[in-house]
Symmetry: C2
Subunit: 358 residues, 2 copies
Amino acid sequence: MKNIRIKDIAVKAKVSAGTVDRVLHDRGNVSEKVKERILKIIEEMNYEPNLMARALGTKKEFHFVALIGDPRYDAYWLDPKAGIQKAAKEARQYGVKVTLLMFNPYDPGSFVKKAEEASKLNPEGILLAPMFYREVLPFFEAWKKQEIPFVLFNTQIAEFDPLSYIGQDSYQSGQVAGKLIHYGQPQGSSILIAHIDEEISNSAHLTKKEQGLRNYFIQNNLDHQYEIIKAELNLRNYAMFVEQLDSIFESNPQLQFCFVTTSKAFEIAKYFEQKFINHIRIVGYDLIPQNLHYLNKGAISFLINQNPLGQGYWGINQLVNHLVFKKEISAIKFLPLDIVTKENLNYYIEDSMLHNRF
Amino acid sequence: MKNIRIKDIAVKAKVSAGTVDRVLHDRGNVSEKVKERILKIIEEMNYEPNLMARALGTKKEFHFVALIGDPRYDAYWLDPKAGIQKAAKEARQYGVKVTLLMFNPYDPGSFVKKAEEASKLNPEGILLAPMFYREVLPFFEAWKKQEIPFVLFNTQIAEFDPLSYIGQDSYQSGQVAGKLIHYGQPQGSSILIAHIDEEISNSAHLTKKEQGLRNYFIQNNLDHQYEIIKAELNLRNYAMFVEQLDSIFESNPQLQFCFVTTSKAFEIAKYFEQKFINHIRIVGYDLIPQNLHYLNKGAISFLINQNPLGQGYWGINQLVNHLVFKKEISAIKFLPLDIVTKENLNYYIEDSMLHNRF
DNA sequence: TAAAAAAATGTGTGCGCACACAATGTGTTT
DNA sequence: AAACACATTGTGTGCGCACACATTTTTTTA
């Protein structure tokens, strides 16, 4: 009936609590015979440790490092940062300290510098957004050697199996976009895929989103009804950005949808606003303020929420669960592909993400 | 730096831990002067109790009752039940026991009987889905007198302020449906609102959903472009149900959308399947297996997820937080209005709702 | 003014666990 | 057989809190 404790097991096995403890933590110094007996009883009685007591008793300190983009360069990172801080605050009472290291998300060199710093701190665990594929690989090796477990979020990199990956299934999000476009124009239409402001060569997830969209139409035998145009755009030179768009929309007057694979959908919306274009519907990513502005105006139809707050929150949580509570954790944690529109927006912003959801 | 404990406060206030404890729990027997001094220090030092230790130390037992619909009559209730059980399992180690009482959701008498049973058990707290407005009111009064706090979910009833309400903003979900329909047919169309299988007089939320939808078009000055037809249907007599639908679709051949306010969207989809109708798009509620079947087939375009699992889970959680941890809890907890389609379905079903979300 | 009552404050214990340390037991060597 | 090493097992303490109980101080009463 009641929860079984170590002591209950000890009594049943006719040993002391210490011996049971040694078996539970596999710390040796237990005769094979007794060990097996205890193990059997643990199994039988379905023992589950009281995590409260465990956390209370241990005075061990944990030091984690979170390596993320700096919000000063890209406001997107405000949310992961907030999620991490929220989780860090909650974990503080278990002796967890989190050091935030933030790099310039447009500068691989900055990433390397911060990653080196992370290594030097020799933390018990690392949470990072491995934005730069080439640059991050040596660190994975190093951390493996240093035996520092790391959790990835935001960008999935399968190699060098991390402790866990938190994020979204980018491919599937492309499929969702496909569905939204298809539903919005069942008879077929013309679509612009816009990759804005990221090195596509270094960010596999953009390609995955594109593939997801394209395959949606192929799988549904709609590919001959939907024309897809692809563009890689850059905002470093805004005049050029506008010029490129001008050229695209002049030569493709039949365009009806724009699928923006990055968080820059608002730039397209702004462009449309300036050019008085209002017949092209936009589907994009990320609930950043600029996007929300145009979502509320109706210029952006849907945003797919990557729940960056949740990513940061769960990322730290995975480390805590693994290292502090010694729980088993899942290697991949896909967050939901929330379809956000003006009407349900309220439930996806702010820390309602932390209070109201799982 | 470190977390402050009661003892730290005691030292600073030059009293013993016991006195601080009395102040913290407002148990009296402390001189006004000392009380204020301690209170000030608590404020200053930003004391936050260690919930682990608190839970560990208390051997108090809590008994909660959950009063929900019986899944044998309506599979919808499987999810709330699962969520409740999940939360109950987690709370067991804090000495919480949850008794599930399940009533026939089509029979007010059954509800009354189970509610009486709940009263008799004299639990520390009650979680219930107050499906029958008239019948539930006397119980609210009784529980107020018995000083049993109760949490509502699924159906919102503002009167007799419950400890908390967990659920969805029904009106807003109607707005979401409006948006989906508008987006799917921007030039205007004809919509059937179907209330299936529930006493509309006794379920305010159906009306709210309808209002949400209607107001969407009014607010956006689209009401003259969109024609709305309303139907209250009943499945007790299936032949009659079909007949009613026949009559509706014959006299309204221009219908393009069907908005089902209950979880019975699949019945419409099934009807369409039999009649070889495939040009009318369906928006409904709830991820029950029958609905998912037609969602995957493409017959249902969107389902609005009410996250019933989460409702049950959070319902118990509110009671636990309030009574066990003595945390402050919010009076209303609106869960997100998830827009679910075939492509993002996977992330909204099963207990992924419990693992992957907040 | 001493005793009794009441108010205010202090002390000690257990919750379940982890871990350091103490205490056994077993076998080997001299 | 004593002395030793080593394997195995048992004991005790603290984590922060709640609460019962003990003690001290203040106030009231006779």
